[in-house]
């Protein structure tokens, strides 16, 4: 899974994070390093779709939180990916 928007949603699923924390988290759990342009492109799109929202912060490092709609979308995508993985695994076992 290398879709930056899904990776950002997955990163925010367990709590609020700012940009660098997301980049670091995604690299650890997915083994994918998102460049700054890619990461903020995804953040911009997700915020426009209201799937995440930026929280107020005194620091320059603004944390983001996944919204209800964002969590719902992530659940759908994970279920869909799960079906693909399950099917692939079954077919590999049959072969």
């Amino acid at each position: 899974m290398t879709d930056p928007t899904l990776l950002v949603l997955a990163s925010l699923a367990d709590g609020d994070k700012h940009g660098y924390a997301m980049m670091d988290d995604i690299e650890r759990f997915a083994g994918v390093r998102l460049g700054p342009g890619t990461l903020y492109g995804a953040i911009t799109r997700l915020e426009e779709r209201r799937w995440i929202r930026g929280l107020e912060s005194d620091d320059r490092r603004r944390p983001y939180r996944i919204t209800g709609a964002g969590r719902e979308y992530l659940v759908e995508q994970v279920a869909s990916l799960g079906r693909v993985v399950k099917t692939a695994r079954e077919r590999l076992n049959q072969a």
């Binding site: 700012h18 940009g19 660098y20 980049m23 460049g35 700054p36 342009g37 890619t38 990461l39 903020y40 492109g41 953040i43 911009t44 426009e48 779709r49 209201r50 620091d59 320059r60 490092r61 603004r62 919204t67 209800g68 709609a69 719902e72």
Partner: protein, 293 residues
């Protein structure tokens, strides 16, 4: 690296920078940046421009600037080449008299050249530990291939017309200016030695000893940046064309609806029909998002 990427971040639209600029800068301060991140930020900025701008020339101009910046940055990865040059002249011995004969001169020169620049002689220079030429190439290329490359790309012997004599130049290009001069010194000495062995009445005079070059011949960073600018312009315009073809949806409207839309654009402070439609979609998204939460 941080500075280059910081500059590239200015390629983002002003609106975007107003919203995300501070936190984006904070991310750049925290992350350990790589060269690939420069391309990533430029690409991100161009995509953001294409999704927010309506004019082709602005996108093209921004892509041209981005191309020039990237090309200039890439030119620093190219090894600089310095060229040292010696000017020598073939003249008739004083006791021989008469004007130099061009045909005879060229025959002598080619004979000398085939001796001085023979594969064995060049391999001798390449293997000279004092010169340490082509260190990296020697790790993975046969000496014959390096000598061939040296002859084809880096050594030049060329005649140029001048009154009263038949001068020619011997040049060599290398990433190290001192080494470039030393190689030309050696080649000039070899030419002198070779000419003394040739039968005939011509002798070699050195008119200008090679100097250690101060400025590199290439990469010419200005030219590289200009070429990058043109490439960026082309890619930018093609990308925006492609972007619009794949992300625009024709909508058929009856005449009265069209009139209403135009009146909304005119009176509602929207810059275009697209702007108005985007605002309607955003409002719909917001309404549905509020209904979910």
């Amino acid at each position: 690296m941080r500075r280059w990427i910081g500059w590239a971040a200015y390629l983002y639209p002003t609106e975007w920078r107003r919203r995300y600029g501070a936190e984006f800068d904070a991310l750049l301060d925290d992350a350990s940046l790589q060269w690939l991140d420069l391309a990533d930020v430029v690409r991100g900025a161009l995509i953001m421009r294409m999704t927010t701008w309506n004019s082709y020339w602005k996108t093209g101009a921004m892509a041209a600037i981005a191309g020039a910046v990237l090309a200039a940055a890439a030119s620093f990865a190219i090894r600089e080449q310095y060229v040292a040059v010696a000017t020598v002249q073939l003249v008739k011995r004083p006791d021989a008299g008469g004007a130099p004969d061009r045909v005879q001169f060229e025959r002598y020169l080619r004979a000398a050249e085939s001796g001085v620049l023979s594969r064995d002689k060049l391999i001798g220079l390449i293997q000279d530990p004092d010169l340490d030429l082509y260190r990296e190439e020697r790790q993975h290329m046969p000496l014959e291939a390096i000598a061939e490359e040296m002859y084809r790309k880096h050594v030049r012997v060329f005649i140029y017309p001048a009154p009263g004599g038949l001068p020619f130049r011997i040049s060599f290009s290398d990433s190290d200016p001192v080494r470039a001069r030393e190689v030309v010194d050696r080649l000039t000495a070899s030419f002198e030695a070779q000419m003394t062995r040739e039968p005939g009445d011509l002798v070699l005079h050195v008119l200008e000893q090679p100097l250690t070059p101060v400025t590199p011949l290439y990469p010419a960073r200005g030219s590289v940046a200009i070429a990058g600018g043109f490439a960026g312009l082309t890619i930018g315009l093609l990308s925006v064309l492609f972007w619009r073809r794949t992300r625009s949806y024709p909508v058929l409207l009856p005449a009265e609806t069209r009139a209403f839309v135009y009146s909304q654009v005119g009176h509602g402070g929207y810059s275009s029909v697209s702007d108005y439609i985007r605002e309607l979609i955003r409002a719909d998204e917001q309404r549905k998002s509020s209904a979910h939460s």
